[in-house]
C-alpha cells in the first residue's frame, strides 16, 4: 500500500504531519512521533515577541537583581549565568531534532518586526530546517486597516523571506479573509510552496470573578475539520505547485480520510496528540490503511481529491451556506403523497 505524498516539494512516506505543538520541544516525544509514523514534524513556533519578552525579563530578574535590602542584597533568584536566551535555545532544539530524527523537520516562525522575520528565518535555515512555516498570527483589530492592507502584509512578509532563504515556505493561515481562495492564490504567486488551513488562535475570555480578561484555548473537535475540508476541496487542483495542508480538528482516521478526499496533500495533527499522546499518529495511520483496504485503494494518490470541488457532480454544494441545506432537508421525498 502506498501512502506517500509530496509536501512543500518534500517526499513524505505518508500524509500525517504533526503540526506545531509542545511535543516537538522534547526530542523524546518527537522520536515517539516519528516511531509512530509521522512523516515530518512541524516544530513549535519561534515567537519573536516572546523571545524578546523573555530575554528582557530574564535580564531584568536574573541580571539586574539589586534590591537595596540588606537581607536580600543579591536579589531573589539564583544568578544562573551560563544559559542562553534569544533564539539559541530554539535553534539548539532544531539541531537536536535534525540529528535524532530521519524525517523532515519544518521550523515554524512568528515574527513581529520585518528584520525579525528575515533574521530568524535565516537562522532557522542555517540550523538545518527542511522547510519553514510562517505562522502569521495577526488579528486585524485596527478598524481603519483595510482587508487589502492585511493581505499585503502577508504577501510582503512572504516575499521578503523568499528573497532571503532558499528552503520551501509554508503559510499557515487563519480563515479570516474575505476571499480565502484569492488570498491563497496571491500567496502562491508570491512564492509560497504550500498553505496550511487553518490556524486556531487563543481567544480572550472574560473572568466574571475578577472582571479581567484571560486567554482561553479549547482543544479542537472533529467538527472543526469541516472548515478546512471545504476550503481544501475548493482549492484542490486550482493552483499549481502549491501544497495543501489541513489543520485543526483532525482526531480520527475518518477525519484524515475526509481531508485527503477533499484534496489535502498532508493532514496535520495537534489536539489529538496532546490528548492521546504521540502514539496516536499510529492509530490514525492504521485507520487510514484499514479504510483504504476496505475501499480497495492502493495509494493515497488514488483517492486524494476524489471529493474535491473539481470531482463532485455538484461543486456548488461546497459553496452553499450550510443552513440552506438544513432547510432543504425538510422538503418531501418526491414519491410521497402529503
Amino acid at each position: 500500500m502506498d501512502l506517500s505524498t509530496k509536501f512543500l516539494g518534500l517526499d513524505l512516506k505518508n500524509p500525517l504531519v504533526p503540526s506545531s505543538s509542545p511535543l516537538s520541544k522534547s526530542v523524546d516525544q518527537s522520536k515517539k512521533l516519528e516511531d509512530a509514523g509521522a512523516a515530518a514534524i512541524i516544530m513549535y513556533s519561534l515567537f519573536e515577541e516572546a523571545i524578546t519578552a523573555e530575554t528582557e525579563s530574564m535580564n531584568r530578574f536574573l541580571n539586574q537583581q539589586d534590591t537595596g535590602f540588606a537581607e536580600a542584597d543579591d536579589g531573589f533568584l539564583p544568578a544562573w549565568q551560563d544559559f542562553s536566551t534569544g533564539t539559541e535555545p530554539y535553534l539548539e532544539n532544531l539541531r537536536k531534532l535534525k540529528e535524532a530524527l530521519d524525517i523532515p523537520i519544518i521550523a515554524s516562525l512568528n515574527g513581529v518586526t520585518p528584520s525579525g522575520w528575515v533574521e530568524h528565518g535565516k537562522e532557522l535555515e542555517q540550523a538545518g530546517a527542511d522547510a519553514l512555516e510562517l505562522n502569521v498570527y495577526y488579528v486585524a483589530a485596527d478598524i481603519n486597516q483595510s482587508g487589502d492592507a492585511v493581505e499585503d502584509r502577508y504577501v510582503e512578509i512572504l516575499r521578503t523571506l523568499k528573497g532571503a532563504i532558499s528552503i520551501p515556505i509554508n503559510m499557515k493561515l487563519s480563515p479570516s479573509f474575505s476571499s480565502v481562495g484569492n488570498m491563497v492564490q496571491r500567496l502562491a504567486g508570491a512564492g509560497a510552496d504550500g498553505v496550511s488551513l487553518f490556524n486556531r488562535f487563543y481567544q480572550p475570555d472574560i473572568n466574571t470573578d475578577s472582571l479581567r480578561l484571560q486567554p482561553s484555548l479549547h482543544p479542537s473537535t472533529s467538527a472543526e475539520a469541516l472548515l478546512a475540508m471545504r476550503w481544501i476541496a475548493i482549492l484542490y487542483g486550482r493552483i499549481d505547485n502549491l501544497s495543501l495542508g489541513a489543520t485543526g480538528g483532525v482526531h480520527t482516521p475518518d477525519d484524515a480520510v475526509k481531508l485527503l478526499l477533499a484534496g489535502a496533500d498532508v493532514v496535520h495533527l495537534c489536539s489529538s496528540l496532546l490528548r492521546h499522546g504521540a502514539g496516536h499518529v499510529g492509530v490514525v495511520l492504521k485507520g487510514i490503511e484499514q479504510w483504504m483496504e476496505s475501499q480497495s485503494f492502493e495509494s493515497v494518490a488514488d483517492f486524494r481529491g476524489r471529493v474535491s470541488a473539481l470531482a463532485v457532480p455538484n461543486p456548488a454544494e461546497f459553496e452553499r451556506a450550510n443552513y440552506v441545506n438544513i432547510i432543504d432537508s425538510y422538503s418531501f421525498a418526491p414519491g410521497v403523497m402529503v
Partner: protein, 1197 residues
Amino acid sequence: MSQNQMVTLDGNEAAAYVAHLTNEVIAIYPITPASPMGEWSDEWSSLGQKNLWGTVPDVIEMQSEAGAVAALHGALQAGSLSTTFTASQGLLLMIPTMYKVAGELTPTVLHVSARSLAAQGLSIFGDHSDVMSVRATGYAMLCSASVQEIMDFALISQAATLESRVPFLHFFDGFRSSHEVVKIDRLPVETIRAMIDEDLVTAHRRRAMNPDHPIIRGTSQNPDVYFQGRETVNPFYAAVPDIVQAQMDKLAGLTGRQYKLFEYVGAPDAERVIMLMGSAIGAAEEAVEHLANQGEKVGMIKVRLFRPFDPKYLLAALPVTTQKLAVLDRCKEPGANGDPMYQDVVTALAEAVAEGNMAQMPRVLAGRYGLSSKEFTPAMVKAVLDELSKDQPKNKFTVGIIDDVSHSSLDWDPSFKPDAAAGVTECMFYGLGSDGTVSANKNSIKIIAEETPNFGQGYFEYDSKKAGAVTISHLRFGPKPINSTYLIGDNEASFVACHQPTFLTRYDMLAKAKAGGTFLLNSPTPPDKVWDDLPKAMQQQLIDKGLSFYVVDAYRIAEQTGMGRRINTIMQTCFFAISGILPKDEAIAQIKYAVKKTYGMKGQKLLERNYAAIDATLAGLHQVDVPAQATSTFERPPVVPANAPDFVQRVTATLIAGRGNELPVSLMPPDGTWPTGTTRFEKRNIALELPQWEEDLCTQCGKCPLVCPHAAIRAKVYPAELVNDAPASFQHMPIKGKDFPSDYHVTYQVAPDDCTGCGLCVEVCPIRDRKDPQRKALNMKPAEERHDIEVPNWDFFLSLPEYDRTKLDGTKIKHAMMMQPLFEFSGACVGCGETPYVKLASQLFGDRMLIGNATGCSSIYGGNLPTTPYTTDSHGRGPTWNNSLFEDTAEFGLGLRLAVDKQNDQAREYVRQLADKIGTDLADAILNADQTTEAGIFEQRERVAALKEKLASINAPEVPSLLGVYEHLVRRSVWIVGGDGWAYDIGYGGVDHVLSTGRDVNLLVLDTEVYSNTGGQKSKATPLGAVAKFAAGGKATFKKDLAMMAMAYENVYVAQVAFGAKDIQTVRAFLEAESYPGPSLIICYSPCIAHGVDMSNNLRQQDMAVNSGHWPLFRYDPRKLEVGENPLSIDSKRPSIPYRDYLASETRFSVLNRTHPDVAEGFLKLAQKHVESKYSLYEQLAHIAWQKAEKPVEKAE
C-alpha cells in the same frame, strides 16, 4: 608555594568555597547574614561542582537550624563530612545538638556570620552575641578578621577538627566581613587537598555508625559515670591549640600567610595594649601601627582561637612591658562581671601571676564596642589607648556610642586618621536599591582589583525600607591590601556620586567629600542650570572644598539607548571617565568586556544596547563650573513635619536623617517599647506617578483602597457640608446607595507623599470611559503634575471625621474600605502582595487587635525602625504588635490569647462579685453582652467606660484588681501573622499545636512561596518546578497542602484566599475567621518580587494562580458541621487556563526552561496533572453529603 589566584569576592563566598570542597553533606537553612553560604553551596552542587573527593556534595535545606544541625549530626554519625552555616538565633537553635556533637568528639566545622541576638529589638547586623552564647557547648572557636582569613581559617578549622576531633565553630563578623567585597588570594584546590589528611577522614568514617561493626552512642548515663565521662575529653581539648597553630604553620608553608593563635602587633616594648577579635582588628591595627610609628608604646593582640582559650599562647604574645591591657568584647552579657573575653583574660593573667608565670599583673580593663555593626574606627581605638594612659582609666567602658545614662562611654576624636589612609582612594555612591548601583560598584571593584595590581574593597550600606530603598556604597582602592574595616568618614571621599537627584535634599552627601575631590550628579537638569538645583549648604560645600562638579542625564541616555530605567552602566562609565583610577580608554574597554561576560549569551541586542549606552555616556557627561558664591535660595527641608510629636522630632527624625549614631543612650526606650504610627511622619515622596480620581466615572466599588499595598489611597464618607472648608482642588461626590445618608459625600484620596506609584489601584479599577477606553475612574498621572495639588487635599481628607463603623457592613467591599486602615505607609516593596491582607485585617479588627508577628518581611515592614506602620484611630485604639521570634510565633500568639482570656475571666468574676455595687443592670449587660457585631462591641465599650466611672466611687478590695483587667471585657482579636517560611517550615510544629488547642486565634499566613525576606530561599510552600535559592535546579516536590492538614482537625476554620482573584471571598474569609470562636487559618496568596515578575502584575498573577488551578479558593467553616452542612465551600472555578501559561508568566518557573529544559517540561506535566486532581479532590470533598451528628442512641435499660 602555589601560583597566586587573585579573586574578588565576599566573606560568605570565601567560606562556602572551602566548605563545599571539603564536605559531603551540607544541611542548610536561611538566616541573614549567613544565607549566601548555603546559596553558593546549593548553586555549586546543582551545577555539578565536585568536592576534593570527586563527588558532588549533597545540599539539603531543613525546616530550621535545629533541623539542619540534627541532620548534620546524623550525617556525621554515619561517617560523612558534614557542615552547616548559620548566625544569630539560628545558632541558638543549634545549641542542644552542638553539645551532642561536641560530647561525641565529632569533627565538623560550623561557619557562622556572627550577628546580634534579638533582645530589646532584633538586629540583622554583626557582633559576637550569638557565638558567645555557644561558648560552653564544647566547640572550638576560631575567628576570622578579614575575607582572606575567612578562606584560610575555613580550611585551617577543617584540618584542625579532623585532627583534634573537636568540632569547630569558625566565625567572622556578619556584614562587615561576610558581605565585604575584597580582592584576596584564592586557595588553590591542591593547597586545600594538602591540608586535609586522608587518614583522618578515614578514621572519622571508621568511628561511624555502621551495622557491619555496630556501636552504641547516646546512652543514658547515671550519677555513677556521667561526671567521669565528661572529663574524658580533656586531653582532646588540651591538644587543640597546638594542633591549630601547627595547621596555621602548615598553611603558611603553602601560602606564605602566617597566622598565630594570639598575634601581637605594635611597639615591642608596649605599655598599653588592646586585645580584640574579628573585623575590628583591621581598624585597630591601623591605629596601633600609626601610633607606634609615632613612638607611642602601644600594641594590640589579635585573638584568633577563642576556644579552647589557651593562656600559654596569650602570655607568649603579650609583651612583658604591658602595664595596661584593654580587652574589647563585641557582645553584652548583662549582669556579668565583664563580658566573656575580658573574664577569660583576667582569669588567665591572674592564674599566671599566681602560678609565678608572670611577674606582675597588668591592669586589665573591659570595653564593649561594635554591637550590631556599630562603627568601630581607628579614632575609637585611639580613644581606648588614650584612656589607658590615664592613671585611673575607666573600666567596663563602652566606645562608639554616647552613654549618658551609665556614663560608660569614651569620647573619641573623629578627625584622627591613621597613615593607612594615605595612598588609598576612597569613593562613595548614593543610589537606589533598584538602580543597580551596588552591582555596578561590585563590578568596578572586580575590574580594578583583577585587571590592575591595585587592591579594592567594597562595603554597602542598606536601607530599612524596601520600596525605594537607598544604598550607599563605600569603595576603596590602593596599592596595598585594604583592611580598613569601617565606613568612609567625613572629608575622606575623593569621589562622591549621587545617582538620584532626589537625594540632593535628603542626604548631606558632600560632608563625605575630601577637599579637591569630585562630585558626580545624575540629573535631568542641563549643566548650565543644575547649580540652582542644589541646596545652599551643598553649594557652599562645593565651593569651600574646591570640588569638581560633573553632571550627566543618565535616565535620558538610558531611555535613548534602549536601557529603559537602567542607569548603572552609565554611572559606572562616568565614574571611570572622571575618577582617573584607570586610564579612560582602558576602563571603558574593561566595562565593555564585563558587559560582554554578563550578556554575551543573552542576546546580541542586550549587548549592543549596553555598548551604545557606554558610548553615549561619554558625550553626555559635562563638567559644571562652580561659581564663587552660593546662590541657592533653599536648604534641605526638615525630615519630619513641625507638628510631629516630641519623640518623633527628637529621636525618629534623627534616625530618618541617617544620624542615629549620634543619639545618646538616654533617648532610647529601655525595654524596646516604641511609639506606633510613625510612618505617617516620614514623608518619602518616592512615586514618579500618582493616581488621579475621576469622580464622573467612579462607581465607588472600593477596590482601589483594597488593593493598595501602602494604604495610600483611602475612602471616606462624610456629611456633604464639611467640604465647604476644603481646598478648591479637593474632589468629592455624593455617596451612592441606600446604605448611607443621602446628604453625605465620598472621596477617594491619594496620600501623595506615601504612594509608591505601583499603579495597582488603577490596574484594579474596573470602570472605563466608554468614549475613551484609556481613561479609567483612576489614572496614573506624572507626580510633578499632581503631588503639590494632592498635598493639601490629603491633609484636608485626614481632617474629616471617620464614618461610624457600627453603620458599615463589612461584608461589602465598599463598606469595609470606609473603615480606617490602622496599618499604613509601611516600607514594604512597591506592589507588595502581602500588605493588602494585613491592612484589611487592621481595617476590620484593628481597634481591638493583638498581633504576634513572625520574623520575616511582615516583621520588617511591620516593625523596622526608624518608623513603623501600625497606627491608631481617633480614640487612640489600634493594633498592638510584637515579634517574638521566627520559630515561636504561633505559641507566642496563643500566649496573647491565653492572657486576654484569663484577664477577661478575672474581670467577669470581679464584675459578678461587685454586681450589687456596680448595679446589676450594668453588670448583667456587661456579662451577657453580645459582641458579635461592631454595634455590640461599641455598646460594650460604652458599658466598660461606665463601669470604670462607677468603680471610681466604689470602695471594695476587688476594685484595684478589676481596674487592672477591666479593658479586656471588650472582645479581643488575636492575630498570628507570618510568612510561609514560618507557617510551613520553622514554625509548623507550633502552628500545628496551636490549631489543636481549639483556642480563638487567627493565623494569617502570607504565602509568598519562598523565604522572601532573606532573599527568596525555597520553603515547603514553594511550588513544584519553581527555581528559588536553595532550589537552583527547581523544586522537585509539590507544595505542602497546609490547608488540608489543618482541615483534618475538623474544628479549625480554614480559608485559602487571593484578593487579586476574588476580593469578596477574601473579605468574607477574614470576617468568618475572626468570628469563629476557635482557631482559624487564612492562607493568603501573596505575589512577591521573588517570583520574578513585575509587581505591577500582582493582581494578574493572583488571577492566573487561581485560574490555572495552582491556588484554588475555598473556605472550610466548622460551624457548618453543627448544622449538618458540608463545611467546605469551593470559591473558584475549575482550572481554566493551561498551567503552562501561568508558569510562562513568572521567571521563577520560566528560567528552568532555559537552564534545565527537560526537567522543566517534566515538572510542568506533573504540575498540570496535580492541579487538576487537587481541584477534583477539593471539589469532591465539598460535595460530600453531611448529616447533622445524631445524638448517640441510648441503650435501653
